[in-house]
């Protein structure tokens, strides 16, 4: 009895230690999202102190280094006309007759929480929505097409089934970078999908070797008697698809979604090529924050952190679905 409980305690300790260890990178990432870029080369276990905003700062430098939107600043300060970026904040206060505290209050958070501010003010929410739309639609439509193809191909009973499948597979093997140009031309010239999220969704669901693989093999285990039984019971094919097959696709869907979701979520290449900044998905948005001779690491880490959070939530939800479907087990009987 005592022995067993010691063993259990030991197990729990080891497992929690392991768990903590895997969480450390996340923690460090979270700290980094609040660490000034200039200190980002050091490992910080807690958010370091930082200087208050100095009125000697030049507004141009704040734009360059902290991504302060000078246009928004001008509007907020009600400054009309051109504002010389080389002006120091104290000079701006003087020249335009603005209370220094007003300037300070507006800009202080940019400096203190620069990463998060930069991300949120430069279109994080818009990009997040775009990413959710693209990923959601890609996973759902991809799965739907996969289930449809899967139910047509299940068992590979005919020779052309294998041809279809192999052509999909080929699609998966070709590196996306190689076909990016023809794809771009087809999408923008012939489909008129310039700067459209639809283009990303189309690219994500095309081919579909993985979805076909996942769903076909699973559908093959669904006894054909279920389909026949629906037919005997007066159901049309779509009834079978809707009422019987779809609800049984929980497990393969969880598999498919958990494999493809990160692909779609993190698809940088296609987003950069096919979208314009006003439509950027998160990875493209985060990538576009960098400069050529300065990199706002604080903003980039904040971007990474903020774009990780939603997918983490989705993962936890799917985790549940996955476990539930796995426990539900065999279709038979």
């Amino acid at each position: 009895m005592g022995k067993a409980s010691t063993k259990n305690t030991l197990l729990i300790v080891v497992l929690s230690a392991y768990c903590l260890l895997t969480l450390v990178p996340f923690y460090i990432l979270a700290v980094r999202a609040f660490t000034p870029t200039i200190q980002s080369t050091e490992l910080h276990l807690w958010i370091p102190e930082r200087r208050d905003l100095s009125m000697n700062s030049r507004i141009g430098d704040l734009s360059t280094i902290y991504n302060v939107d000078a246009r928004a600043f001008r509007n907020a300060m009600e400054i009309k006309g051109y504002l010389n970026p080389q002006l120091k904040l104290s000079q701006i206060a003087e020249q335009y007759g603005i209370e220094p505290d007003r300037i300070r209050d507006y800009l202080e958070p940019y400096v203190q929480y620069n990463g998060i501010y930069t991300i949120v003010n430069n279109g994080f929410v818009r990009s997040l929505i775009a990413t959710i739309v693209v990923t959601g639609a890609s996973v759902l439509v991809g799965a739907l097409l996969g289930i449809m193809t899967g139910s047509a191909l299940a068992g590979f009973r005919r020779r052309w089934h294998m041809f279809v499948y192999n052509s999909y597979l080929l699609n998966m093997i070709i590196p996306p970078m190689m076909v990016i140009l023809p794809q771009y031309i087809i999408i923008t010239r012939y489909l008129g999908l310039e700067n459209s999220l639809m283009s990303l969704i189309l690219l994500h669901i095309k081919g579909g070797a993985l979805s076909t693989m996942v769903f076909t093999s699973y559908i093959a285990t669904v006894p054909r008697e279920l389909k026949e039984s629906v037919a005997m019971d007066g159901g049309k094919h779509y009834h079978y698809f809707l009422y019987i097959l779809l609800p049984l696709m929980g497990t393969p869907f969880a598999v498919f979604a958990s494999i493809t979701m990160p692909w779609f979520w993190n698809d940088l290449l296609h987003a950069l090529v096919l979208l314009r900044p006003d439509n950027y998905t998160l990875p493209a948005f985060v990538a576009s924050i960098g400069g050529t001779f300065t990199t706002n690491f604080e903003a980039i880490f904040s971007g990474v952190l903020l774009s990780l959070a939603p997918i983490l939530v989705v993962y936890l939800v799917f985790q549940k679905l996955f476990i539930r479907s796995a426990m539900a087990g065999a279709v038979k009987g």
Partner: protein, 367 residues
């Protein structure tokens, strides 16, 4: 209600013909069993009736209606599958309600009918369970319920009991028989278990190699097999077949000369074209005078003891024979073995395996 009629029904898969022109009438309101060895085409035939397989050639009528091209759901058939084909993610209630839902039956009526059917099948306490939480027998009953709920004219069962253990199988068998009586429906039941066939059926259809071999009441078939296949297939252990060289008929008596030279004296006439004699183990008695086998021409192979009786296996020059004895009666250890055959229960088959004599009035197929 409805009888099912097949005329010259053929099933081909590509170039392979698996059912060769079936002519068959399945009586209305009776339980008909399709019986035959594995691969003989029973399921195919059943599925053709259900509409799950196309009919390559010939006609299929249910009642008076030609249904070759009628949608499965409009044939008035319900099917119970070997693996039950319950919808795994739906409760018992929903499973049973499904056919009605497809028909567009109002909700309240569905509720009523499901409860009613569940009551008949003693499924009421299980309505909210998922199939995976049911025992095999319960699943079987749910599948029955789902079939019954539409009041079909014809029930089709494809080996519905083969997944159950022996005891449950007996119980369900009785239940199906009871339901058939209560509902008075036409039922077609596929099995390769002849005990099931004998106990359940009003009518048995024996199939082999894509042909119907014989149709008839269970005992008729047992007593009057139409050919050597049926004779050998029905009955366990199988009938003894003794091939012979020649027959000498006299008035009301005959002497049959077996291959190897032994002779059997019978008190009856043997048809001229007969080439094989068939006799079931229970119609052979030790100590009779029809056939005497010298000591050096037979060996005993052993016996199966079933408690009240035992089957003894004996090797003869022309083959093995099986003899039924009451328990405790052994074969003679020394000397010749003399056997008696029940002359009325002896069957004769010609060179093609067709039954001759008293069996000839039965419906016959060709091999």
């Amino acid at each position: 209600m409805s009888q099912v009629t097949l005329s010259n029904a053929v099933k081909r898969y590509g170039a392979v013909e698996v059912l060769h022109g079936i002519d068959l009438e399945i009586a209305a309101n009776k339980l008909t069993v399709l019986l035959g060895p594995s691969g003989c085409g029973k399921s195919t035939l059943l599925r053709m009736i259900a509409g799950l397989e196309d009919i390559s050639d010939g006609d299929l009528r249910i009642g008076d209606r030609l249904v070759n091209d009628v949608d499965p759901s409009r044939r008035g058939c319900a099917m119970v599958f070997q693996n039950y084909a319950l919808y795994p993610h739906q409760t018992v209630f929903k499973n049973m309600a499904f056919p009605l839902k497809m028909k567009g039956t109002p909700k309240s009526e569905i509720e009523l009918k499901v409860r009613e059917t569940a009551k008949v099948l003693e499924l009421e306490p299980l309505l909210d369970r998922l199939p995976r939480d049911l025992s095999g027998g319960q699943r079987q009953r749910v599948a029955m319920g789902r079939a019954m709920i539409r009041n079909p004219e014809v029930f089709l069962f494809d080996e519905p009991l083969s997944n159950l253990d022996a005891e449950l199988r007996v119980k369900m068998r009785l239940e199906i028989a009871r339901l058939q009586k209560e509902l008075g429906a036409t039922m077609i039941f596929v099995t390769h278990d002849q005990v099931e066939a004998m106990t359940l059926a009003d009518q048995v259809v024996i199939m082999n190699g894509g042909h119907v071999q014989q149709v008839g009441a269970p005992l008729d078939i047992y007593n009057h097999p139409a050919n050597r296949f049926v004779a050998g297939f029905i009955g366990s252990p199988s009938m003894n077949f003794l091939p012979f060289e020649s027959v000498r008929n006299a008035e009301n008596a005959a002497v049959v000369r077996l291959e190897g030279g032994l002779e059997i004296a019978l008190d009856r006439v043997v048809p001229d074209t007969a080439r094989t004699l068939g006799v079931r183990p229970e119609h052979v008695s030790v100590g009779g005078r029809n056939l005497t086998i010298p000591e050096d021409q037979f060996t005993t192979l052993g016996a199966e003891h079933l408690g009240d009786r035992a089957y003894h296996y004996v090797r003869l020059p022309f083959g093995d024979i099986t003899i039924l004895q009451a328990e405790g009666q052994a074969l003679p250890q020394t000397g010749a073995l003399s056997l008696g055959l029940n002359a009325d229960r002896v069957h004769f088959f010609d060179a093609d395996g067709l039954a001759l004599g008293q069996a000839s009035d039965q419906t016959t197929g060709t091999t």
